[in-house]
């Protein structure tokens, strides 16, 4: 594969990932509305027709794999090209910190992606998450606003709202801290990556360079602030329906723990 084909692959997979990241962020921001919003959204994603959920997951998986594998190839080739002898005197002319640390920010992001999936998708970090159930009444969602639509009225559905609230709560403060740290690195990755993408694909000239740099800066920061608002709200226990999260926590975590403690005591 030629050097430029590898660059195209990095840019195209990067583009898909940026698109996913922006959509994912918008979905997540429903945490600041009534619990029904995100629970209903999650329900709909889980019940997409024709196995579309798995199609999307597969496409994203392949995208990440290509992005990472090609990145590793590029890094190895570049190291070989640089040669064995390093400059004794080092100088920087204009390179940004973000541009020179793409491989490191990317590596942490890979670790983050794996942890994030184990945390909220597989739910193996806290298996208790699987037991969080609630009713989706449609209160406060669009079903309610347009009252000619019937509320979904599903009972016993997975309580994503409580899961996120508990997952980011001060009980597990190191988890939201890692999320915020990773999102800061994603911000850096994107402030270079989004501008770089257009250069790699040849869709850039000197008129567009400052515009694309600013676009990359805006996307990086919007993504950082949008995503980080959730772990921050979790740490500060500032979600609008914090009482619901607290009740679910006591029911599933504290209550469960107290229960097994009592059981152990009886023996």
């Amino acid at each position: 594969m030629s050097s430029l084909v590898k660059k195209y692959l990095m840019a195209l997979t990067g583009f898909v990932l940026v698109g996913f990241v922006c959509g994912h962020m918008l979905g997540n921001l429903q945490m600041f509305l009534h619990p029904d919003w995100i629970n209903e959204y999650a329900y709909k994603l889980q019940h997409l027709p024709y196995g579309l959920l798995w199609v999307v997951r597969l496409v994203l998986l392949i995208t990440v794999i290509v992005h990472v594998v090609v990145a590793v190839q590029l890094v190895l080739e570049n190291r070989r090209a640089r040669g064995g002898e390093n400059y004794a005197a080092k100088a920087k002319l204009q390179a940004t910190f973000a541009s020179k640390t793409m491989r490191y920010t990317g590596l942490v992001l890979l670790a983050f992606i794996i942890f994030h999936i184990l945390h909220f998708t597989v739910q193996s970090v806290h298996p208790e998450f699987k037991e969080l159930h609630t009713e989706i009444t449609g209160t406060g969602t669009l079903w309610h606003v347009y009252d000619h639509l019937k509320p979904m009225g599903h009972t016993n559905q997975h309580d994503v709202y409580a899961m996120v609230g508990i997952g980011f709560s001060p009980h597990f403060w190191y988890v939201p801290a890692f999320y915020i740290f990773s999102m800061a690195l994603l911000c850096m990755h994107l402030t270079h990556g989004v501008a770089s993408m257009f250069q790699s694909l040849g869709l850039r000239n000197s008129v567009w360079t400052p515009r694309l740099r600013k676009l990359a800066l805006v996307i990086g920061w919007v993504v950082f602030l949008g995503f980080s608002s959730l772990p921050v709200a979790g740490l500060l226990q500032a979600f609008p329906h914090q009482d619901h999260i607290q009740a679910q926590y006591e029911h599933t975590f504290d209550g469960g723990a107290a229960h097994s403690d009592a059981a152990a005591h009886n023996h």
């Binding site: 030629s2 570049n78 640089r82 064995g84 005197a89 250069q199």
Partner: protein, 257 residues
């Protein structure tokens, strides 16, 4: 022009040949005229070394007027030294302070093996040129100058790319030792002109293939190349090359290039 003298300490990379490993040697240079050029200062060092019956320092140079691309040297970590838009041969000692220590290293990169001391083998660039950095012309009487009108903007842009003197500073400064600034300038200066258009796709494919075969790295759009370039070649040309190559690959996939 301020006439004065300064004393500087040189840390010079010495290496017998490509097989042996190199090391730094220190030289004290006293009473160097601030009006002398950097290469003249090295000439003085070599005269001194020859007087002392030692090996002079090998370094590349030719025109000494900033147009041939033969001089090199990484001076305090920057190819051609810290002054923007300047070749080493155009650098003067007035750019240094009395008492400075100046570290002088070759243009480092795997495809630029050291020949001796500060002289490196840049024939990898020649092979990239041979793979497509030319236009095929019939010999015979030149055609009428006005028979092939070229817009002023295009002509200017082609001249901006053609300003590349092929010195290799872009490779030397690039964290990835990528030759994409050089290759793109040499490719697009022809691709954007009518004389170069018939061979455009072939040129794009072959020059990138040769660049890869020489073992140069991959651009990560960091931009140090443009900043170090004595001719200020813009990264716009890399974007153009990326575009021309993509089009050529698609056309060749469908058997049209």
């Amino acid at each position: 022009m301020s006439e004065g003298t300064i004393s500087v300490k040189l840390k010079v990379w010495r290496q017998k040949n490509g097989q042996e490993s190199g090391h730094f040697e220190d030289y004290q240079m006293d009473d160097v005229s601030t009006s002398s050029s950097f290469l003249e200062m090295l000439d003085l060092l070599n005269e001194k070394l020859i007087d002392e019956d030692k090996d002079p320092v090998a370094f590349d140079h030719d025109c000494r007027e900033g147009i041939c691309g033969m001089c090199s040297l990484t001076i305090n970590g920057i190819p051609h030294g810290k002054n923007a838009l300047q070749t080493t041969c155009q650098l003067h000692m007035r750019s240094f302070q009395d008492g400075d220590t100046i570290t002088i290293e070759p243009f480092r990169a795997h495809p630029f093996p050291v020949i001796r001391d500060l002289a490196v083998d840049r024939t990898s660039f020649e092979r990239i040129m041979q793979s497509g950095g030319y236009v095929t012309q019939r010999i015979g009487a030149a055609q009428d100058a006005n028979a092939l009108p070229i817009g002023k903007e295009v002509a200017d842009r082609a001249m901006d790319a053609a300003a590349c003197i092929g010195c290799g500073a872009c490779v030397a400064v690039c964290p990835n030792a990528s030759a994409m600034l050089f290759t793109s300038a040499k490719m697009t200066q022809l691709n954007m002109l009518p004389q170069g258009r018939p061979e455009k796709d072939r040129r794009s494919l072959n020059m990138v293939a040769q660049m890869d075969a020489e073992g140069f790295g991959n651009c990560t759009n960091i931009g140090e190349c443009s900043a170090a370039c004595p001719k200020g070649i813009s990264m716009d040309f890399i974007a153009m090359m990326n575009r021309d190559y993509a089009v050529a690959r698609v056309k060749s996939f469908f058997g049209a290039a």
